[in-house]
């Protein structure tokens, strides 16, 4: 089965362990991490927003530093998941994308003909019990609503 694993900023290895426990390791995985551009856009909007007459554009050095850190975190995150998946014996591809996480996940699942999307119920789920109303984050909810295939939602119980 071709499985798309939406790896958030945390909980990658745990996701692979759960996946293996539920459906074994004979699958082809796409480990996808999306650098969400939303918060960065909010920051830019603030820095250049109303009342910004005295706000010169942010220096390039600073922009570059933020880019570097985002890339670094994305790579580390995927690497952690990749190691776990490799040990478990999965066939793996890994991919980093920039944009709106929920839309990209759905789009890639559609384009790549994936049969299953695996996702945490919310970014805050890992490490804390998250059950009950409002426990599903916006990314997971959108994916549930729009996915072209089955969705395996993981929760920390």
């Amino acid at each position: 089965m071709r499985v798309l694993c939406a790896v958030g900023s945390r909980g990658g290895p745990e996701m692979i362990r759960k996946l293996r426990a539920i459906m074994g390791a004979q699958h082809e995985l796409l480990l996808l991490h999306v650098i969400d551009t939303g918060p960065r856009q909010s920051l830019d909007a603030f820095l250049r927003g109303p009342g910004s007459h005295h706000r010169p554009p942010p220096p390039l050095e600073r922009e570059r530093r933020v880019d570097e850190v985002e890339e670094f975190v994305a790579k580390t995150t995927l690497e952690e998941a990749r190691q776990e998946a490799e040990q478990a014996g999965y066939t793996i591809h890994a991919e980093i994308q920039r944009g709106q996480a929920e839309k990209l996940i759905v789009q890639l699942a559609k384009d790549g003909g994936y049969q299953l999307i695996v996702i945490w119920s919310s970014e805050g789920a890992q490490g804390h019990p998250q059950i009950g109303p409002a426990s599903i984050g916006r990314v997971a909810r959108y994916v549930l609503d729009h996915a072209p295939c089955d969705v395996l939602m993981l929760r920390e119980l």
């Binding site: 918060p39 909007a45 220096p59 933020v66 985002e70 929920e102």
Partner: protein, 421 residues
Amino acid sequence: MVHSALGILIFGLTLGAIMVRPYHISEAFAAAIGAVLMVLGRFLPPNEALRTLAGEWNIFGFFLGLMVISSVADQAGLFEFLAAQTGRLAKGSARRLFLGVFLVGALTTAFLSNDATALILTPAVYTLVTRLRLPVLPFMFACTFIADTASFLFPISNPINILFFNSLGSGLAVFLHYLLLPALFCMIINFSLFSFLFRHDLRRSYDVDSIPLEFSFDRAFFRFTVITLSVISIAYVLASAFQLPLSFVAMGGAIFLLIGSRRFVNWPRLRREISWSLFIFISGMFIVIKAIENLGFVSKFGFGLVNLARNSPAMAILITSMGTALGANLINNVPMALVMISALSSVGADGPVHQSLVYASILGCDLGPNLTTIGSLATMLWLLILRRKGLEISYIEYFKLGVVVVPVMVAVGALLIWLHW
């Protein structure tokens, strides 16, 4: 009569253009056009316009000095250092880090003004929090909010305070007498409400080891900057205590800092980071407000406020602070501050009535922009919500931020000013 109406019209159009910015003109351009029209329309003789500007040398010097100091501090790596140190001291708890960001934000605002926190500390914190794999929005909001909330700790914490201080000030002791307690209370309210609103996001922990140990900036440059900044901070406090022009400290400090670190400073970047248009904006506003002052409307407004304050002080303080907060939010806080200064100084009444209104205006002008900040961010988040049908509770909480937090802070601040009078 027609002449007066024309003056009011120019004033209204200038404020409107600053607010709406038709054809994407800058605020500075709008203010400059307004000023030129005022002079051409003979609301203010050219020589009086020049005299007005010359009389505000302290403000211009302070702004310039402050921008240079902040930019050099940024180049020396001060803000990255502060963010990383906060990350280490918080020892892996997101909640402690949140408190740390509030404290560092308050400290930065207190001595380097609100813009340094909002514009330079915020991106540094953003980078740190991304590295720590924590949700960035709560920390970003913490930075941008504390920049305004802590901005009436000292006269130097917000250039708006200097505007008031320059024409109506009566020393650091009086400033602190009226505003220290409101500032502390507002900071506590701000922190408590945010901690509650973001409680789910802040339950996490992070790995302290993911904060890089190496310091990528020049150590000598950094040390020199930190020592100079400490001296400048003390000099600020002394200068405001003895009512010496604060521009002396800002400019003197900036020049000393630049000479001492001339080998390290990236000059083109420094030039880029100084916003020259700010000077045009303030100059334009000074002239427009002076012209309106000559028409006599502003003093009527001032007398009205003072009369109200004599009859019902609590009401007057509350109305002044809420009104200026709203005005600062609608038309930008510089023109709002200038209108209030002009109104209150033309009344000329001294004593506690006058003082408490001045400090109520400072409170409103400093806290008001928090609404704007959130106004723009909230609009964006609102669009996000409309776009994504999946609605998450925390997004609604963002709306609560500006709308709930600011009025509470203004009301409590006003109450404390009233208790002091």
